[in-house]
């Protein structure tokens, strides 16, 4: 097992002291360690936001790109180097807001990556505007009379798109969360983990409020049962059943056909294209004048 300490970085942490993001950071380190993944075998991908700083605080390869655009970047990385465990770790605004379309289409592609959403139900880095998961009616530093529209239902959306691993975690539950992340990362295909992460600076409720609502999914829940899973997913934003909502056997993952061609190698390791192929293509563009016709051609009279 890789020691947890292997994931330490020198970057100065910029989160508020006591932020539940620290819990996610620790749980993710533990999960990687338990899965025996060394830092160089992992690529953490994020957008912009408080959550999106996570990759700076866990030793691994890092692609910290644009707000909302972590998922396409992660898919590109995964295709270019399938050997890397590619994990998106970003915020609810980033992934469900600005980046909503990418998540929607990632469900269709089913790439073998894990998407971790630090769901604090707020835009924290920009100082407290409502996010797609803020509850209707709650006041924020932008919605002074309360958010007037309904929250997104992206876990239920994942389920209707038959995403094969859909889970919800709670940042305050280190044990449970690291186990959940382990399962998500080990899952083949797209795995989505929405983690309830109370924001102690801009949030509308104390941590306790979230804790009370983050109750483990009952044992009798059948995660292969679509309707049950949707019903659980739709309990948010008033309650947050924690655990795996939906899980199905792995199905074909994105890029499978190409990986057969390349034997799953990272693309930078591939041989140069056989020059014969280009020669063939150029030859096909060539047209020879027919000697018999060329000579006699004199134009119309």
């Amino acid at each position: 097992m890789i020691p947890i300490d292997a994931f330490k970085t020198t970057a100065e942490n910029q989160w508020c002291p006591g932020c539940p993001n620290f819990g996610i950071q620790t749980a993710l380190k533990r999960a990687l360690s338990a899965l025996d993944l060394a830092p160089h075998q992992v690529c953490l991908v994020s957008g912009i936001g408080q959550a999106a700083k996570t990759p700076h605080y866990i030793a691994a390869n890092v692609f910290n790109g644009l707000h909302g655009r972590s998922i396409p970047a992660a898919i590109g990385i995964h295709i270019a180097n399938p050997a890397l465990k590619t994990i998106v770790t970003s915020g609810d605004g980033c992934i469900y807001g600005e980046g909503g379309n990418h998540l929607l289409h990632a469900f269709r592609r089913n790439p073998d990556i894990t998407v971790i959403v630090h769901d604090n139900q707020i835009y924290a880095l920009t100082k407290g505007q409502g996010s797609p998961t803020t509850r209707r009616g709650e006041t924020t530093r932008m919605q002074f009379d309360g958010v007037a529209i309904d929250p997104s239902q992206m876990l239920a959306t994942a389920i209707v798109h038959d995403c094969t691993f859909v889970a919800r975690g709670y940042a305050g539950d280190l044990e449970g969360l690291s186990a959940l992340l382990q399962r998500a990362i080990a899952h083949r295909g797209l795995s989505l983990v929405d983690i309830i992460q109370p924001c102690i600076t801009w949030g509308n409720h104390p941590v306790e409020w979230y804790k009370e609502r983050a109750i483990p999914i009952p044992d009798d829940h059948d995660p292969t049962h679509r309707n049950q899973a949707i019903a659980l997913a739709l309990e948010a934003p008033d309650a947050f059943p924690i655990g795996v909502l939906y899980e199905k056997p792995a199905r074909e993952t994105f890029g499978a056909v190409y990986r057969q061609q390349t034997a799953g190698k990272p693309l930078f390791e591939l041989q140069a294209l056989d020059p014969g192929i280009v020669r063939k293509r150029l030859a096909a563009l060539r047209i020879d004048a027919t000697p018999s016709f060329r000579e006699p051609y004199k134009g119309a009279q």
Binding site: N61, V62, P72, P266, A289, T290, R294
Partner: protein
């Protein structure tokens, strides 16, 4: 005349492409060079469109027809004013007018029991009108329709024969056409056909893109030809396209994307990301007339400024603009090479003219060695920093997951390791200077413009990208008329190279836009004053004759 302009006009879906292909092929088989192009509306069926063959002339557009074959009456009327004096008109024509009416549809139904044979009748008729023998037309039809069942193929040949006869009967009334056989082998290719091929040869392995005219053909080429080994994905939008491509590039795959102006607009945030993260990427921007949706199937050179200045913040980039398929091959290699060496985005500006025109070239060369990898050798590295400060601004680049060295790529301002920084005193200025040092060095290696007949020229026409051939032809026309004109053509348009332009000649900028975008750049960069700019902005390509008309019309006496 030894330069024949042939227009085949009709509705979308009616078969102008098939007829054109057959006749172009027959011409090539006769040793006659062709330049073919298309112009059409943004619709799938109907409307007016033309397939144009310029035989035995330069690879440049002409806007008038010496031979005009019409497939329907509406098209005949629509294109009537493109007919040159003594133009041979044939096909579906209004009764009682000029030309040789041949009712293709009717004949096909009557003689061959189906309107499907109309196109072969038309091809035969057109071949005949331009002086092609029935034998060579037959050969071209056999090649074009190789996949048809033997009996259907035979019927097509007979149809072409019928057309050939019909037209030859009336041909005596037409003017004499004389074309030269110029070569025994041609390569017939379009720029958008060559870019994917050259990209694959240069080492490209990844493309994510979203369909958009006139760029779509590039992604389709990879999809059609898996042997090229390029992973290609049609994604949900252009934002995904550029971010996915950047992800792949960061993980070591040579990557590209392609789009048109509107899609490029959506990519500009990602372009800036490529600049900040120093991630190589080649982006083809296939221009069409704007603003907004504009004229989706037409041509323009309106996005130069946007290509140069698109994206927030300041970072190095190169903008290259090929003008023909050989250029396209060279520019594609150059683009991947610059992207790899400078770890930056490189833009390739094409347009609908280049996408839809086939050039006949005596030869076309694509290098057989891919561009050298810009990736460092991880084995020699002790402790790795993605953004290590170096004298030339270029840090040794490792890909994500290339080795045990961790690679940190960050869109925030970062320190040498790639971590977010807030150090304004040392790190931020150092990183800005690092990126701009790359821009300075890049400027030093940008190609000079290519001169054409500048000896003794008193006026010099400046062109970039697709308008090259029209300008070259214009110079020849002007020189033939005793006018001391020459040209300078830019294929590498940004950054502009170090250059001193003589100030004893007058300059003209010739471009496919209305505001003179390149002209403004020239003024800012070299402080030259322009005698004028000739812009075309009707959606059609620049052509030699209108350039000549404009420069001669507005040039002072002393010059002409």
């Amino acid at each position: 005349m030894c330069d024949l302009s042939i227009f085949i006009v009709g509705a979308a879906g009616e078969g102008i492409q098939t007829i054109g292909d057959v006749v172009a092929r027959a011409l090539l088989r006769s040793g006659i060079s062709v330049f073919t192009t298309k112009e059409y509306e943004s619709r799938i069926r109907g409307g007016n469109s033309s397939y144009r063959i310029r035989a035995s002339g330069p690879n440049a557009p002409r806007h008038d027809a010496d031979v005009l074959l019409s497939l329907n009456l509406e098209a005949a009327a629509h294109y009537e004013n493109t007919a040159s004096t003594n133009c041979i008109l044939l096909g579906e024509l209004p009764p009682g007018g000029q030309g040789t009416p041949i009712p293709f549809q009717e004949l096909a139904r009557e003689k061959f029991g189906s309107p499907l044979f109309a196109n072969s009748i038309a091809a035969g008729a057109l071949g005949s009108a331009v002086g092609l023998s029935q034998e060579i037309l037959e050969e071209a039809i056999r090649e074009r329709f190789a996949r048809l069942p033997a009996d259907v193929l035979q019927k097509n040949i007979e149809a072409s024969q019928l057309g050939h006869e019909r037209a030859s009967a009336s041909r005596s009334s037409s003017s004499v056409i004389a074309m030269k056989s110029t070569a025994s082998t041609f390569t017939l290719a379009s720029v958008h056909e060559i870019i994917p091929l050259a990209a694959a040869a240069a080492g490209c392995r990844f493309m994510a893109a979203y369909p958009m005219s006139p760029a779509t053909g590039i992604m389709t080429a990879f999809a059609k030809d898996p042997e090229l080994g390029v992973f290609v994905e049609q994604v949900e939008d252009e934002i995904a396209a550029i971010n996915m491509s950047l992800g792949a590039s960061a993980a070591g795959a040579r990557a590209m994307t392609a789009t048109s102006g509107g899609g490029f607009a959506l990519m500009t945030e990602g372009l800036s990301l490529a600049g900040m993260t120093e991630t190589p990427l080649v982006i083809v921007v296939a221009q069409r007339p704007g603003p907004a949706t504009g004229l989706p199937t037409r041509t323009a050179q309106e996005d130069l400024n946007f290509a140069i200045h698109g994206g927030h913040g300041e970072f190095p980039r190169a903008v290259l603009a090929p003008s023909n398929p050989q250029d396209a091959a060279d520019v594609t290699f150059r683009a991947f090479d610059l992207a790899e060496r400078y770890q930056m985005p490189v833009l390739v500006l094409t347009d609908q003219l280049l996408a839809d025109s086939h050039f006949s070239l005596p030869d076309l060369k694509i290098p057989e060695q891919p561009v050298s990898s810009g990736l460092a050798d991880p084995s020699g590295v002790a402790s790795y920093q993605r953004y290590a400060l170096t004298e030339n601004g270029i840090s040794p680049r490792l890909a994500l997951g290339q080795s045990e060295h961790l690679v940190l790529i960050d869109s925030d301002e970062h320190d040498e390791t790639g971590h977010i920084t807030e150090d304004l005193e040392i790190t931020r200025p150092a990183m800005v200077e690092k990126r701009l040092e790359k821009a300075r060095r890049l400027k030093g290696e940008m190609a000079l413009p290519e001169p054409y007949r500048t000896d003794g020229a008193r006026s010099v026409l400046i062109s970039w990208g697709s308008s090259r051939a029209a300008v070259v032809e214009a110079i020849d026309l002007l020189r033939a008329d005793g006018k001391p004109f020459g040209a300078l053509h830019f294929t590498e348009v940004w950054p502009l190279p170090h250059l001193t332009l003589p100030d004893d000649v007058e300059y003209w900028s010739i471009e496919g836009n209305a505001t003179g975008q390149f002209a403004h750049l020239l003024q800012a960069e070299w402080h030259i004053r322009l005698a004028g700019t000739i812009g075309r902005y009707d959606g059609m390509p620049l052509d030699a004759r209108s350039i000549v008309a404009e420069v001669v019309g507005s040039t002072s006496e002393e010059v002409s």
